[in-house]
């Protein structure tokens, strides 16, 4: 297991989140507490048990491949912060 600080840095990267210094201190302490809590499951022998998906079986996921027009495509953009020429404007994506 990585050290607390290394692990926090890695999780920040995976989560696209940057904690403040104060939040980092709390997160290191809390992470260990929560992991100890989750480690309870290691007491159970789960070899060969059930499915490896969280979803219940029997759900039908297929439908006919029919095209449906969106009612108002412009409405989709109304919540965006910055639109230019009908496109979402964001900071530079490549150097």
């Amino acid at each position: 297991m990585k050290t607390g600080a290394q692990l926090i840095k890695e999780l920040e990267n995976l989560s696209k989140i940057e904690l403040s210094e104060e939040e980092k201190q709390t997160a290191q302490k809390d992470l260990q507490t929560v992991l100890d809590f989750m480690d309870k499951l290691s007491e159970l022998d789960t070899d060969g048990v059930g499915q490896d998906s969280a979803f219940v079986s029997g759900i039908e996921v297929l439908r006919e491949d029919t095209a449906v027009s969106a009612e108002n495509p412009q409405a989709v953009l109304k919540n965006a912060k910055d639109i230019k020429n009908g496109c979402l404007s964001v900071p530079k994506t490549v150097e």
Partner: protein, 493 residues
């Protein structure tokens, strides 16, 4: 008639349909009540007075010409703020979505509008439904109407507290690990967490997609049954929604319990549970015995493993579901960012609360290489084992009676220091979500401070009618569901 407080929602609709009161009168009553009390309670994030009154006029005309005649036509309702309402802000009580206005209605909102109900506004909740007290709300915590220094519960705290305070007859909440049942228990009202797939999740802002369900909150089993009959059923836009489910409303309000077998898990009445909660559950069991049900204790294995399994799965799914909040298409966007990556990181860091960030990071941890098998895969298998344990129990019993929470509502700020202490309080609710079962929470007592105690009736999959019927039988002979906090007593409004 000037005070609708003692009417059920079904009776209110009856009076509206018969012309004794108008939809406007009913809507104005509840809007006025919210304006009078909500500064103290903070149940609402958004109150929609003008829109509600406009809608009331339209619905009145349709009731008069006979095109609207359903069980709840004309009845006001408020909606948890993680359910999309077209043209009305849907914030999830988060800075990330504080300005987000959906351009579409959730499936359940289409059904509520089709019934002719009047949406009065959007209700306060824990941010992104992550919490058990409504204290993670960006807009501030909702208060418990029985004691304004105590939590309303969560994450549907606003939904439960508003019904308890009498400022709305019905509300919608959502339940991923107890978020309807626990605030109902803390606030002394009734609420249903439906079978997974009974209600469409289309338009529900996703937290944990294999666990989330929208459900009704009201003052009684009868009112919850009526609202559930409106919102349940097929929706092709949610692939997990059952295509075939038919809810028997008449059976649900019959109050049948004689001859039914009720089991109480022994493990739930030992350990952390308070004596007052335990006493209330045992008293409820005695009421069911007097009504002719067979009640006995049984062992429900794996009870202590449900909470860690739940938090692993829920955080894993949340880390994936909340990856969409990047400041690009909608939601909070940080300013003065030099590149795209910086925009993602700053928007998410500034837009989410610490609890949401904690759960996203935990979720990424349990899904990451080197830890996936030990945590996530393990938790999924434990979920299967817990589901099987419940299925075995239901070979012997029709209904399982259990507490909702180990204690009554605690003081605001009391459990914010240690997240695991908060997580552990979900001990009786999360297993139900893991197994995909329905469960109905109803008040069954009070503690020495006058705070409500709740019980839950857990049923077999798609047996909402059975558990609601049992709850109706209980409420036909008890008065707990009729109690009102002093803030809501007649004359206060």
């Amino acid at each position: 008639m000037s005070n609708f407080e003692n009417l059920s929602a079904v009776e209110l609709s009856r009076l509206i349909k018969s012309g004794e009161i108008t939809v406007r009168e009913a809507t104005e009553f509840y809007l006025d009540a919210a304006e009078k009390l909500d500064d103290a309670l903070h149940c609402y994030n958004t109150l929609c007075r003008d829109e509600a009154l406009k809608q009331a006029e339209k619905v009145q005309k349709r009731i008069e010409n006979g095109t609207l005649c359903g069980l709840l036509a004309g009845v006001p309702i408020a909606i948890k703020d993680n359910i999309c309402t077209k043209g009305i802000a849907t914030t999830c009580s988060s800075k990330m979505l504080k300005d987000f206005v959906p351009f579409y209605n959730a499936g359940v909102i289409e059904k509520i509008n089709g019934e002719g109900m009047i949406i009065t506004g959007k209700l306060n909740m824990d941010e992104f439904a992550m919490g058990s007290t409504t204290e993670t709300s960006f807009t501030g915590a909702a208060k418990n109407p029985y004691d304004l220094t105590r939590v309303a519960g969560g994450s549907s705290g606003g939904s439960a507290a508003s019904v308890a305070a009498g400022i709305i007859p019905l509300s919608l909440g959502s339940d991923t690990g107890g978020s309807i049942r626990q605030p109902c228990s803390f606030c002394g009202v009734s609420g249903l967490k439906p079978t997974y797939s009974a209600v469409s999740r289309y338009g529900l802002v996703a937290f944990a997609s294999s666990l989330d369900q929208i459900g009704p909150i009201g003052k009684s089993a009868e009112d919850c049954a009526a609202l559930f009959s409106v919102i349940c059923g097929a929706d092709s836009r949610d692939m997990t929604c059952s295509k075939d489910y038919k809810f028997d409303y008449k059976k649900a309000i019959k109050g049948e319990i004689k001859g039914k077998k009720i089991g109480i898990p022994e493990e739930y009445l030992t350990g952390e549970i308070s004596e007052e909660v335990k006493t209330a559950i045992l008293n409820a069991a005695e009421v069911f015995r007097q009504l002719g049900a067979g009640v006995e204790f049984f062992s429900l294995p794996l009870s202590e493993y449900a909470t860690p399994a739940y938090y692993i799965i829920a955080c894993a799914e949340a880390s994936s579901n909340l990856a969409r909040y990047d400041g690009v298409k909608y939601g909070y966007r940080a300013e003065n960012c030099q590149g795209l990556d910086e925009m993602y990181i700053k928007s998410r860091s500034e837009g989410f609360s610490i609890e949401t960030k904690r759960r996203i990071m935990l979720g990424n941890f349990v899904l990451s290489s080197g830890y996936y098998d030990e945590y996530y895969k393990k938790a999924i298998r434990v979920k299967s084992m817990i589901t099987e344990a419940f299925d075995r129990a239901f070979e012997s019993f029709d209904i399982i009676l259990a507490p909702v929470a180990p204690t009554t509502a605690w003081k605001l700020g009391e459990k914010l220091e240690n997240p695991v202490e908060m997580y552990k309080s979900d001990i009786y609710t999360v297993a139900v979500n893991l197994a995909g079962l329905p469960a109905f929470a109803a008040p069954c007592g009070f503690d020495k401070d006058g705070m409500p105690v709740g019980m839950q009736l857990i049923g077999k999959r798609f047996c909402e009618a059975e558990i609601l019927s049992a709850a109706t039988a209980f409420q036909n002979v008890t008065q707990y569901h009729k109690a009102r906090p002093s803030i809501a007593k007649e004359g206060a409004l």
